[in-house]
């Protein structure tokens, strides 16, 4: 696979060099637009922004530790029909994996996209990012990057990256056309550009970059990062299992849920246009609540909360990429990512499937085979 090239930084540093990389992609007509995380104003927050004017590329901020939404949904919006041009979309690894799932569920395409994946240094949850980067957002990303790449895990006021990011075992993009590497690279001087597909190689060739091998230490850096993350993740699974291993404990775990369904809105792979939980099926008649209450003596209001969450597990746990946006969106700080990723890990293993791994593995619930899963069926006599 993979052609790689080292891109030497210009005077302005990493952010300016990345801006100039995308600027030249636009100027050379390699793509008709670029969607990338960008500061909306010099002191403002970071959000995905669709840019067509090369002169407007300056405030690009790919590595800001801010992850307000999983952009797979935006990419799905951009790609479900041809636009007549090619759009480069800059995504974190979990956003790429979510998009792969959406493509398989016929919610988008990769045909007219150049997927640019970044080595992901992680992000804070929304509330923490606001606190930590409030004053000097523009310069904050550089400070953050050099800290995180030197192995720092605790930041101002003892804040840490979001749990989802600390438990993420996919920090390097997979399935991108072009990758931007920072792990094991001296980012004061350069960053690594990789081409993983023919489309990607076309971009590298057109930019006139000469092929260079990635530095030797890169693989080791990535390996050790993943090992640390995996340990953290497994401990997290264990702790979460301990907290939810009976129906009663699960109900307690979810007791703060107010049925706002923000987690479902934020979830990149929960793609139904109309969720069954907002249809008439759950628009119960008033006497129904009383009947339930009479039968059990009491019922929690709002109702259908555990039901909603377990149903969501059934619907999307095979597609969950553990991006953590469910936790980010929860107004009552329920640790949903921990619960979802634990369950998803088990269901994906049960079907020998990994969300986002490839465009050719069929989603487990979309196919069947004649001879399989003998262990599920009780055979008598």
């Amino acid at each position: 696979m993979a052609k790689t090239a080292l891109y030497n930084l210009t005077d302005g540093g990493l952010q300016a060099s990345l801006a100039s990389l995308f600027r030249s992609m636009l100027e050379q007509g390699l793509v008709s637009a670029v969607m990338a995380p960008m500061r909306l104003s010099p002191g403002g927050g970071v959000m995905q922004t669709l840019v067509t004017d090369p002169a407007q590329m300056d405030m690009i901020d790919l590595f800001a530790p801010s992850f307000p939404l999983n952009a797979a949904r935006l990419v799905s919006r951009l790609s479900k029909k041809p636009t007549g041009g090619t759009v480069a979309v800059v995504l974190r690894p979990c956003e790429i994996r979510a998009h792969v799932e959406l493509v398989k569920l016929k919610q988008g395409s990769i045909d007219d996209l150049i997927v640019v994946g970044i080595d992901c240094p992680g992000a804070f949850n929304n509330a923490d990012y606001g606190k930590i980067a409030a004053d000097e957002r523009a310069g904050f990303t550089d400070t953050f990057l050099s800290a995180v790449l030197s192995g720092e895990t605790s930041f101002e006021n003892g804040l840490q990256l979001s749990t989802a990011c600390r438990a993420c075992v996919h920090p390097v993009p997979h399935g991108a056309d072009v990758s931007i590497g920072i792990f094991g690279i001296d980012i004061d001087k350069q960053f690594l550009l990789g081409a993983e597909t023919e489309k990607g190689e076309g971009i590298l060739d057109a930019l006139g970059l000469s092929v260079t091998e990635a530095p030797d230490k890169r693989d080791a850096v990535i390996e050790s990062l993943i090992a640390t993350r995996e340990t953290f993740r497994n401990e997290m699974f264990e702790a979460t299992h301990e907290k939810t291993d009976t129906p009663e404990k699960l109900a307690n775990y979810l007791s703060g849920c107010i049925n706002c369904y923000n987690c479902r809105v934020a979830c990149p792979v929960c793609y139904c246009r109309e969720c069954v939980f907002v249809t008439d099926v759950f628009d119960h008649d008033p006497y129904q609540y009383l009947r339930w209450a009479r039968r059990k003596g009491k019922i929690r209001m709002p109702t259908d909360t555990v039901f909603y969450h377990i149903t969501r597990m059934a619907h999307i746990s095979t597609a969950c990429v553990a991006c953590g946006q469910c936790s980010n969106a929860c107004p009552n700080d329920i640790s949903l990512m921990e619960l979802f990723s634990m369950t998803a890990h088990a269901t994906q293993a049960a079907f020998d499937y990994e969300a986002g791994r490839s465009l050719t593995d069929d989603p487990p619930l979309s196919v069947f085979k004649e001879n399989e899963l003998a262990d599920v069926v009780e055979v008598k006599h």
Partner: protein
């Protein structure tokens, strides 16, 4: 173990095979415990996982899904889809403490009245030994 415990079993049975088998068991005057509540569906392939999750949250002690043998599905492949969904539920629900033995899938053909009655008898014995649904006591909805 509560001696007087009578489990409730919700059985989703397909119109073409297992429901017909249950009918045959009845017309053949075979007896089987009344713990089972049959819900006739056109095909096991239409048993939404929600039905099963809801049944457990409402306190059923076991769920049986039963349809045509592989290759015999009236709708060609509904039972294969049901099998995948049951695999999914058998992976998800036990993580939250629902015993996997409470979630059963069987194939019982239209002529297997005897087997239907025996399946229900066996299941009642098994679930009696297992005790009430783990969610029954909690106010879980």
């Amino acid at each position: 173990m509560d001696e007087g415990f009578e489990p409730t079993i919700i059985a989703f049975v397909c119109n073409w095979c297992t429901y017909t088998a249950a009918d045959l068991a009845g017309t053949s005057r075979l007896s089987y415990p009344s713990n089972v509540r049959l819900i006739r569906v056109m095909c096991t392939g239409m048993v939404d996982p929600k039905y099963i999750i809801k049944a457990f949250l409402e306190g059923t002690d076991a769920v049986l899904v039963s349809g045509c043998h592989p290759g015999d599905c009236h709708y060609i492949n509904g039972n294969y889809k049901a099998r995948r969904r049951m695999k999914l539920l058998k992976t998800i629900l036990p993580q939250y403490g629902f015993d996997e033995k409470r979630i059963k899938l069987t194939w019982i053909g239209a002529s297997d009245g005897i087997q239907f009655a025996q399946t229900i008898r066996d299941m009642v014995v098994e679930i009696k030994a297992l005790g009430p649904n783990e969610a029954k006591q909690a106010a879980v909805v």
